[in-house]
Symmetry: C2
């Protein structure tokens, strides 16, 4: 029974920032070599960042990736750490051929893991299953791999898989099971979702039992656009017992010793569909190193997980896009209060700027609650009255009713964008998932902004998170950041005198339950009625949702006359820093 | 050699508008029966409209579709026309099972064609190849079919295929060839693209030769969001000669008599992978009807095709979404002039409203060219000076430089949206593909609007289309709609004194050539340099494009914490009429 020492690097790559990612991979690998690791592994697409979207279809980007991959191998070898295998996720493009995937003519690369050793690429595993649902578009941009890969290292057989490969029955895991591997190593780029934790562990436990070997679930960490990779990498033994677990939401290299079965391949090829790669005797310190005790990080409660995911998502969006600061409207309401508190937790109070933009319809508590919030958070707040800017437009264009209400929201948008342009802040838009779903917002008004911290948070959860965050502060003896009044008062857009949200919307607990059924579960009207919701209210909500979808699509549409048009075809991720 | 009379219905379905689509299908089928047709066919997804995006994943929508499909069969039979087969495209959902596609867990339906006869569904063909590139996301939402379908009717074998099925080697066409069919009938939802015409015909000719039988290419027509289906359905004989062709951009039922080989199946099953469906003896008038002479509609020149595609795209977006009218800013420049001319061709001058919004930096010709345009088009124009609305904001916020320039564009956006809200117009945003690609526009400013008529038209093509449209008017003895001065003067955003586009952008012919290489061809820097473009200019353009992509993504991003979030997961098409 060999003991394998693995260094599992849960990193936060910057998309397309090769120099930074290469440096981190090399340094981590060299350090792990010094700690006696037999194998170092990084997550899915750890060289480039993930998801790379249409960059995967650009031959120039793929060639550049290959150059950097070879450079990593060279640098590690030059540092004297070349004798152990280092596994790095990367998009594996054609070097001289351009055969397209049968599924998607533009797909030319695989989603792959390279095994680096002795300054060379000694093996490449290509992901078999390409997810193309929810946030994933991999079938669009990647080709599907076909062979399994087993790494023979230190007397053990380490079989590779990438993310979706373990979510499907059959496929590489079934092939791998026949080889009777010593270990199953799964590289992931698995985004955070509420309750996903409860799905991942049982799945990996099942795969460990299936291959009758310990399994390693190695994840990325960090925010990339609207995805948040939560880390939380872990190792189970063959019976599914958790042997080690990394923290969620932070970069960490987990060093773990695992008792594994002897190799059955002994480095020889075993048959069709499996490539066996010889990766040597493991770390030269194997015989002398003392066993490490594995870390098992505690799991966070669900509200803390969500809060941390939102904080990390915002921090990485701001930092990776090179913003110095954020600006947002502070209305005294719960949404802007929660967004401001998230921003302070993400980037600190000195980089968060609030603007109170009272109108003639704003209540006194709007202003006082906003001031209270700014004081609790220690952030800058300024006041820009909107009446002097709204009145000339309203008068010149003779606007009233909804047109005049929208105008107030749009003037606020102009103020935030003007200050953003003048002072360089990223504008935060504070809409929550519920109001976005039902279109309870003004296009080019309160929807203005470059980042929407709570756009995937239903209103009822906004309140819950606010209460959780205040309580979290109290347990640490700190000032609760969110004014109690912002949590308890009835929500209002304050676009006309005495307006409250429930003038036009159902109670939020009912509304969120209907939206969850209609949008998330995709169940039909009949099913929702059978759960006890009133027909009239249900139909009103459904028509609001359909109408909001229609509003949301405005401004993105125009007739297409060429093979490549914007918006749909061109899906380049953010790859550079704004200067 | 039987003669088959086909009625090929090139329809413009309204997405999700079942009552209208059902009525049209029934009426067309009954009329075709009276004209002696042996078979009536409609295009891909002709029952629901296309693309249906995430509606394909909603069981309630799929059940409703099935009900309407059965209703069509019943109604046709009740009209006495039930004895001939009628082929209708529809999403074929599970009636009682919910097995997901292995590719995409949310996909539960097939993209299918139903054969209706005698009040029943007598056969269903499921599309094999699901395109998932460019504008297509079918692998995301559909399951893949596996069997070929041959319809035995009037002594002939008619083999079915749907769109992408003929674009791939192998697959159903290879299977069909072995059956030696009398005819290959291909239902399509194939969007217009420049030069696509030159690809479709040779492809269909090749398939006709491959199966050694005449081939029918039946397309949809009409605009749906950013797609324009151009129609242009056609029939070739087994050697690829065009026997009949429908017009582009209009609804039409093409009635055509085709000499075909005798059936080889005689209605019996022929082996695995092929389903043979018995569809009777054809039209009762077969023995007495006189032969019809086929129509071969002339092909349009490329500028007329593009113009007509843009007109149809706008008309259908306006009509299908229930707008009465459109409004747009008229700057005197070429982009707004072309958009206004397109709008008038799409919905008529009475429904088009122009707004001249001069600033202190607007030249005299801006106003006079806008007035000239409005007069030529016969549309309403009003003037709203922006200085009285810009000044208070600029003063209160102390804006200057780019922030002040953007403010002017944003005040114009507020004016258009205010008038839209007050008067019910759809706002047109007039940006062209070139300026969108390089980010030469103001977010929430000139980019404001619900429909962007020329967002896929490069600047050089905007000029070319303007000249073509004027010449087209002249050849008909009509007033050219676009002022000559708008075509010839140097383009300018007029956001500061004396500004012209070429202060900050390369000449448009150079710029468009670089964008075409970098974005459409996806070729790298080295290749573009080898074509003779200067390195410095190229790098400037590439950095503008990357930066513009970054700007374009603003406002859509926020951390995702649930399985279903908006924007990526939820892709509902516009399915209802706004009231």
């Amino acid at each position: 029974m060999p003991i394998l020492r693995l260094a599992l690097a849960q990193t936060n790559p910057r998309l397309g920032d090769f120099s930074r990612n290469v440096l981190q991979i090399v340094n981590t690998a060299v350090e792990a070599f010094g700690q006696g690791a037999d194998l170092v592994a990084f997550g899915e697409m750890s060289l480039t960042g993930y998801p790379i979207e249409d960059l995967a279809t650009r031959p120039d980007f793929l060639r550049e990736t290959r150059t950097h991959l070879e450079d990593i191998a060279t640098q590690i070898a030059a540092s004297g750490a070349g004798s152990i295998p280092v596994i790095v996720g990367f998009p594996h493009g054609p070097l001289d051929d351009h055969h397209a995937n049968s599924g998607s003519p533009s797909a030319i690369a695989y989603n792959s893991a390279a095994v680096l050793q002795d300054g060379r690429i000694i093996g490449i595993y290509n992901k078999h299953h390409l997810p193309n649902y929810s946030v994933f578009d991999e079938y669009r941009i990647f080709r599907a791999g076909s062979d399994a890969l087993v790494l023979h290292v230190a007397g053990a057989d380490v079989a590779l898989a990438i993310c979706e490969d373990i979510w499907r029955e059959g496929g590489p895991v079934a092939t791998i099971a026949e080889v009777k591997p010593s270990l199953l190593l799964i590289l992931n780029g698995s985004p955070f979702e509420r309750e996903k934790d409860e799905v991942r562990l049982p799945l990996v436990q099942r795969r460990a039992e299936q291959v009758n070997a310990p399994a390693v679930y190695l994840n990325l960490v960090g925010g990339q656009d609207d995805l948040v990779f939560d880390g939380g990498s872990f190792v189970t033994n063959a019976s599914g017992k958790v042997l080690a677990r990394a923290h969620q939401f932070v970069e960490q290299t987990l060093l773990v010793d695992i008792d594994v079965k002897d190799s059955t391949t002994n480095g020889s090829q075993v048959g069709p569909g499996v490539v066996v790669v010889e990766a040597g005797a493991g770390n030269p310190q194997r015989s002398t190193r003392a066993k490490v005790s594995p870390e098992i990080a505690p799991q966070l409660d669900i509200n803390e997980q969500i809060w941390d995911a939102l904080v990390l998502g915002m921090r990485d969006y701001v930092e990776k896009n090179g913003f110095r600061s954020v600006i947002l409207g502070l209305s005294g309401g719960i949404d802007s209060a929660v967004c401001a508190a998230l921003a302070v937790d993400a980037i600190g109070p000195d980089r968060v700027f609030g603007v109170s933009m009272p109108s003639n319809y704003s209540s006194d508590h709007s202003r006082s609650d906003a001031d209270d919030l700014a004081e609790r958070l220690g952030i800058d707040i300024r006041t820009e009255a909107i009446a002097p800017l709204v009145d000339p437009v309203e008068t010149q264009l003779h606007l009233d009713g909804v047109a005049a209400e929208n105008l107030q929201a749009r003037i606020r948008g102009i103020i935030l964008m003007g200050l953003s342009n003048a002072e360089g802040h990223l504008v935060l838009t504070t809409g929550n998932k519920t109001e976005i779903a039902v279109g309870y917002s003004t296009i080019y008004g309160d929807s203005v902004g470059g980042f929407a911290p709570i756009r995937d948070v239903p209103k009822t959860l906004v309140w819950e998170l606010a209460k959780w965050r205040n309580e979290h502060a109290r347990t640490k003896g700190l000032t609760p950041p969110i004014p109690e009044n912002s949590i308890t008062k009835p929500p209002s857009a304050e676009l006309r005198p005495g307006q409250v949200d429930q003038d036009t919307l159902p109670e939020y607990d009912v509304l969120d339950a209907i939206l969850d059924a209609y949008i998330t579960e995709r169940v039909g009207r009949d099913v929702i009625i059978s759960r006890g919701f009133g027909v009239e209210m249900l139909d009103r909500v459904i028509s609001l949702v359909d109408r909001a979808e229609w509003k949301r699509r405005q401004g993105a549409i125009g007739p297409k006359i060429s093979e490549m048009a914007f918006g749909r075809d061109r899906r380049l991720p953010v790859t550079f820093t704004r200067n």
